[in-house]
């Protein structure tokens, strides 16, 4: 038996696949009408145009990019899109997956990129960056990438709504406002707040975010300022969707806040950043 030729790409792919791609709450939203419709549209659109979609894989900063090429088959599943690469014998050699819950913070917007082909002639491509994977189509297929982006955005919205549970929070905020005596923060919460502020001061925003999330997990209304700070920190890390949601939650909890104007301005800023 001949040993299989292992490409560098293959190794890279399996590494990417191993790196924490996991199924999440997609099941809870699978019954959502918009979600279902978006999945259906993608399932119709992508497999048919599989030969027009090229794949690129890059690291987080996209400083190193590997061209994977055109996949042999595209499958749109309930929680992901699967790109299957096959050899001449029609045997699957590698698979790349884009999980929807991994692109919740992504700015889903196709970008026109000008480059050149092997002969040096200029070419225009349309790139859609989805996490570490980018979908690439030629300029003639720009409509395709725009449609894919639209459907993915729709999926992203539904998943984010489910993630932040805004409707539920509105009730929580109302109940909080009706309370005569507001809940006070616990010692554990105070510990996490102090930690978060310390991380912020040294610009370690990710750790600060984690600490504030722990504060909210203990009691979601004891320290409303946690929402405000979390929003600022997320905005700082370019996670604008989450930043907007946390700021909105803060405004629901403290509608008469002294920084209400600033909070609203921030939301507008982040919305612009998200859509441009």
């Amino acid at each position: 038996m001949k040993p299989k030729k292992i490409h560098l790409n293959l190794i890279l792919f399996f590494l990417i696949l191993l790196l924490g791609f996991h199924n999440t709450s997609a099941q809870s939203v699978s019954n959502n009408v918009h979600y279902k419709k978006a999945i259906h549209n993608l399932a119709t659109l992508m497999p048919l145009n599989a030969t027009a979609i090229k794949l690129l894989v890059g690291n987080q900063t996209y400083s190193h990019v590997t061209v994977l090429g055109i996949s042999n088959e595209i499958k749109v599943l309930e929680n992901s899109i699967e790109f299957i690469f096959k050899d001449a014998k029609n045997i699957t050699t590698q698979t790349a997956k884009i999980y929807f819950n991994e692109i919740l913070e992504e700015k889903i917007k196709p970008k026109q990129v000008t480059g050149s082909n092997d002969y040096g002639s200029p070419i225009i491509e349309n790139h859609l960056k989805l996490g570490t994977i980018s979908l690439v189509v030629t300029n003639e297929h720009s409509f395709l990438i725009n449609n894919i982006a639209r459907e993915l955005k729709s999926i992203q919205t539904v998943l984010n709504e489910d993630r932040f549970k805004m409707d539920e929070f509105k009730e929580t905020a109302l109940a909080y406002q009706l309370l005569k005596e507001k809940p006070s923060i616990t010692e554990t919460q105070r510990k996490y707040i102090v930690q978060a502020n310390a991380f912020t001061s040294i610009m370690d925003y990710e750790e600060a975010i984690n600490s504030y999330i722990k504060v909210l997990e203990i009691n979601s209304t004891a320290y409303p300022d946690a929402y405000f700070n979390l929003a600022l920190l997320l905005g700082q890390n370019n996670r604008f969707y989450a930043a907007i949601n946390f700021m909105e939650k803060y405004l629901l909890l403290v509608p008469n806040s002294a920084v209400i104007d600033k909070a609203k301005e921030k939301i507008v800023d982040w919305e612009i950043m998200l859509n441009n």
Binding site: I185, M203, Y223, D225, F228, N229, L232
Partner: protein, 358 residues
């Protein structure tokens, strides 16, 4: 090798000077040997750029047909300083040659070979690229920092949190009265827990300003004390009133003794308690006020004695009820007078020494 370079430099210098001469002749600084007529013809065509031409000034003169009078320093000083006669062309010649030679010399001595020059260029490029990268990095860092500080202007810290409740060192829920010391509060706490506390702090130090009552001695009066009281009363009632002053003196001495004993008793209790705060308070007590206590007590006791004696003497004049009222007025008036003339100081203010916070 150095020897060779020295020769090489001299050779180049020589060549340079030679070239300069040649160059200066080519740009038309020297006279070309053209006739005046030929030059005039040439002048009609404008400035001459050819290799054989006159100076620019001469060409101008030729074109206009006029002579330009130049007030050169040479002419001004002609009468005073004798200088070698030199034409304008010659002067220009010397100047240009000098400049070229100088530049050549400086270039010769600045870089001795071409190899380091190439290296220098390469290093310069690398330095420039490095500098540019560092500059970009600095800009990026400055942007991040500026963004951070902008965020920190809005960022809410714990100190902003009005709902924060800090645990105070003293539990205010203990309902301390304004005169209760921390030790007393602690004592009360222990009593609530059923612990036995011998030191009653309020017995000697805690008095309200509203009740200027005399502090009771905490020691037990003996039979001897009672006999002494009876003796004083008898002396006071001696016929002719001769015993009244000795009786007052006697009462005063007894009261002084009581006050002293009371103080010693307090001191003993404070020492037994082991409480430094109470010991300190006893130590800081103003003993002068104890004497005032004794005077006050003596005054009140004397007034009471006169009242009792007078009441007995008044038998038959008033009925019992009237007698009680009238002599009561006299007794109370005695106390009022004592207070008015500040014969005593109210014990609550005097004995209560400054209670320090611990």
């Amino acid at each position: 090798m150095n020897h060779f370079f020295n020769h090489y430099k001299i050779y180049i210098l020589f060549l340079a000077l030679l070239c300069c001469y040649d160059v200066s002749s080519q740009v038309g600084i020297t006279n070309s040997g053209m006739t005046q007529e030929q030059e005039r013809n040439q002048a009609s065509k404008g400035f001459d750029n050819s290799s054989k031409s006159t100076s620019a000034l001469k060409q101008l003169e030729n074109m206009t047909g006029q002579t330009v009078t130049t007030y050169s320093s040479q002419r001004y000083n002609q009468s005073n300083v004798s200088k070698p006669s030199m034409s304008f062309d010659q002067q220009m010649n010397i100047m240009v040659t000098g400049m070229i030679a100088q530049s050549l010399l400086s270039s010769l001595f600045n870089s001795s070979s071409s190899v380091p020059r190439v290296q220098e260029v390469k290093t310069q490029t690398a330095t420039l690229v490095g500098n540019s990268y560092l500059e970009n990095l600095k800009i990026q860092q400055a942007l991040i920092t500026s963004k951070h500080f902008k965020m920190m202007n809005l960022y809410k810290t714990l100190s902003d949190e009005k709902q924060m409740k800090f645990k105070s060192i003293i539990d205010l829920s203990m309902q301390m009265n304004p005169y209760q010391t921390f030790e007393e509060a602690e004592r009360q706490k222990l009593l609530k827990k059923g612990k036995s506390i011998t030191w009653d702090f309020n017995n000697w130090a805690q008095h309200s300003n509203d009740q200027p009552t005399i502090e009771k001695s905490t020691f037990q009066r003996t039979k001897a004390d009672e006999y002494l009281d009876e003796a004083i009363n008898k002396i006071e009632t001696l016929p002719g009133g001769v015993g009244r002053i000795p009786a007052v003196a006697g009462r005063f001495m007894v009261n002084i003794k009581d006050e002293t004993m009371s103080y010693l008793n307090d001191a003993k209790d404070a020492a037994i308690s082991g409480n430094t705060a109470t010991m300190s308070e006893v130590g800081n007590a103003d003993l002068g006020k104890r004497v005032n206590n004794a005077i006050y007590k003596t005054g009140v006791q004397t007034a009471s004695a006169y009242y009792n004696q007078g009441k007995d003497m008044a038998t038959g004049y008033f009925d019992d009820k009237m007698k009680e009222v009238n002599f009561g007025i006299v007794r109370d008036a005695g106390g009022v007078l004592l207070e008015k003339y500040k014969i005593y100081a109210p014990i609550s203010d005097s004995w209560k020494v400054s209670i320090r916070k611990h």
